[in-house]
Symmetry: C2
């Protein structure tokens, strides 16, 4: 049965799932959700995600939400397709989990706020709040200090291969490159090289282009 993703190309959480599906080379149907008419806050969408946020995901009769949980499901269920996004060894899988949690708990809070201030607000013709930007850049810098030390030891966050832990960063990274927040990444050489590497992945380039040419 078919995979469906209900979401929006503006949403980092939607793009996170699309990046994963495309790395796996899986066919899926994209169902746009119209925020302008509040489609995400009404049925039938609320039956797919009771929190009224995109994305929602269907794989046959299985219905999931929360982008990182969806990606874990895809990576494990379709382990033998496309790019291996997890390892086989349980101890190495555990490291993917650790760094995926770091993305969710430590990197994403400042990165998501900066994405809103410097990325999405700009798309909507609004002005960034400078005090928030400064505060969140300082927060992000502390997190990226730990990344810098980690990426000096291994090419990717969870080891020598690109995994889900790296992939989950792509949508916010993509928004922040080209904004003033880019300096926080670029001033750390290993972080900067890692960003350049994962953003240049042909699959991600294709996914990122969907926003402009859906």
């Amino acid at each position: 049965m078919a995979i469906k993703v209900h979401g929006s190309f503006v949403s980092t959480a939607t793009m996170r799932v699309l990046a994963c599906l495309n790395e796996k080379g899986l066919d899926y149907e994209f169902v746009p959700v119209d925020f302008a008419v509040g489609e995400h806050k009404k049925e039938p969408f609320l039956s797919l995600n009771p929190f009224g946020q995109v994305p929602a995901f269907e794989d046959g009769d299985l219905k999931l939400f929360e982008s990182r949980a969806i990606n874990q499901y895809i990576a494990h269920t379709y382990a033998d397709k496309g790019t291996p996004l997890i390892y086989q060894d349980p101890k190495k899988i555990a490291l993917v989990c650790v760094w995926a949690e770091v993305e969710a708990q430590r990197y994403d809070p400042p990165a998501a706020k900066l994405t809103w201030e410097l990325g999405i607000k700009q798309l909507m013709g609004m002005t960034a709040d400078d005090a928030i930007v400064q505060e969140q850049e300082a927060q992000l810098a502390k997190v990226l200090d730990v990344y810098e030390a980690r990426l000096a030891q291994s090419k990717y966050l969870a080891g020598d291969s690109f995994t889900l832990a790296d992939l989950n960063h792509l949508p916010t990274l993509n928004y922040l490159m080209g904004t003033r927040a880019q300096a926080v990444f670029n001033s750390r050489p290993h972080v900067s090289a890692w960003c350049a590497d994962i953003l240049a992945r042909p699959v991600w380039q294709k996914v990122a282009a969907m926003r402009n040419n859906p």
Copy 2:
């Protein structure tokens, strides 16, 4: 080789891991981390968790941090011991992941702030900030509305059995019961029954008692 948990009984993240190990009936060594002398911000602790926060976890030569990633590792690696905290069926595992993400991304932000204001500050003889408490209670109430609908359909968050998705809530729930925030839970009958059920688990009672009698 032995399992070690480096942490503190005051820390909800430490208690989350201890709850999991105890449900699994695994032997482990608890290594107290002395916050008073800043042990968590120095080596050798920083080699175990570069973010300088408890807990840190060792299973032989494997070193992990981030409580939810540690619990996932324990639940999968020791699947055949003690309480089954995940399912066998990949589609059911995916639902455990979804609701574990909901705990981490939606429930925990207000619950952790309330735990600080109403639980930990009180332990330290400090006064709660009423404006923060009100704001976070309102935030938590919205999340618990979704829980109420979910728990009307299934006894536990990810289905008919107690799983990691439920377990991860225990440390903050335990702090909040007995505070004014308890009313936010108790005004929702299915949420209230779920809290009473999971907090009454003998394993949790034993873990919670460690704080008073370490």
